[in-house]
């Protein structure tokens, strides 16, 4: 193979997942009691397909938002969103995608499912910690406002990520081997 195919594939996959996270964060499904966006589905898919390299798209996505392009939920942007009350969830995307990716380097299904659950929990952990820190709010109230309403949606999204990955993974380039 000419040049460095592995490197080019990582570059193009990264671009795809930055774009996918952006586009999915603009789509929202009206859901009771809070609308769910597909943003975390894109994060989980990033992990499942890019494996350990999932850190690139997530970091670059946050950089793109921080320099002022409207890539966050509902077309918001700027460093203010990252430092605002919901910024923790965005920062949590990085460990979440990496955790999912590391678990998807194994082929056993139960490890994969555990990875998806762990990724979702990482997003909650970062989001709620930052919520408690940035808004004067006690932990219980933060969990009630920032975690419980999202659980049904996140279960659906994790299941969707698992099923979609099972369908498309055989056709993707293997990223984890050089």
């Amino acid at each position: 193979m000419a040049g460095n195919y592995h490197r080019s594939i990582i570059i193009t996959h990264t671009t795809l997942f930055i774009a996918m996270t952006t586009v999915f964060s603009w789509i929202s499904i009206p859901f009771i009691p809070v609308p769910i966006t597909l943003q975390t589905l894109a994060v989980l898919l990033t992990g499942t397909i890019m494996k350990r390299y999932a850190i690139f798209p997530m970091v670059l996505y946050l950089i793109l938002g921080a320099i002022g392009l409207p890539v966050f939920h509902n077309g918001t942007a700027g460093i203010g969103v990252l430092l605002g009350p919901t910024g923790g969830y965005l920062l949590g995307f990085i460990p979440a995608a990496v955790a999912v990716g590391l678990c998807y380097e194994r082929s056993a299904h139960f490890i994969n499912v555990a990875g998806l659950i762990m990724g979702t929990l990482f997003i909650y952990l970062f989001g709620i910690s930052w919520l408690v820190y940035s808004v004067p709010m006690n932990t219980l109230a933060a969990i009630t406002a920032g975690m419980l309403p999202f659980i049904p949606g996140d279960i659906v999204k994790a299941a969707a990520a698992f099923l979609i990955t099972r369908r498309v993974l055989p056709y993707t380039a293997r990223l984890s081997e050089k």
């Binding site: 000419a2 570059i11 193009t12 996918m20 409207p70 077309g75 993707t172």
Partner: protein, 262 residues
Amino acid sequence: MSEILQYIPGNSPLHHLNPVTKLLMVILIVGLCVLSSHIPFLCLLIIILVLGSLFSGLINELKSQVPFLLLLSFFLVLLTSLTVQEGELLITLLPSSDPSEPGYGITYGGLMFGVLLSLRFIVMITAFQLFVVTTKPSDLVTGLLAFRLPVDYILMLLIALRFIPSLQLEAKRIHEAQLCRGYNPGTGVKGKIMSMKPIMIPLVANSLAKTQVLGLTLDMRGYRARKKLPFHRLVFNFGDGISATLLVLIFITFVFVHFFQT
């Protein structure tokens, strides 16, 4: 949602500024308006922004924001004047049972706090709007080279910007193709979720296939490791000097207003 790239092509001085200068200006202006609680200073910032937009013929862009900003200010003033109870009572809404104490009503402190908040929001939204309208996203990303970000990452960001509209188009096309095949986007919560399935899987699979072709192309075109790409380098020109001077002046005014005048 439809248009991420709200960039409006033009030939004004603001368009010709270096994106890095513009980014720094926006960050500084937003930072100062958050730190400042001095109403005349915020008014000065608004005047500068309006003058800047007049100067570069973008006043219509700002005019379209005026109804929204007025509505936002109205609600902010209403909210703060009903909740913040500070200073002199201007209008009594509920008289107190004890005649020696003032009742509940609209106070001077609450009103001023509302005005301050709305001015802050006006400055932030206007500055950001001007920035987005006059900066080409690809230029902005290339501007990151000034911050010594490696070329690989710049390339990723540039391609990602190009990918966003094409992914949206792809989703729309798949949706229409599935409609032709008689797929019924259901109603209700369950239907909404189920209706995602026939779009999601082809979308992910198609775009993954596209990235693999793109990766192969990139490789064949000779994207080798550690080779410099002929990026369009951005230069700092006369206008950047002027705006940097303006920034320094704004900063000096801020310091003067807040620390030397009580």
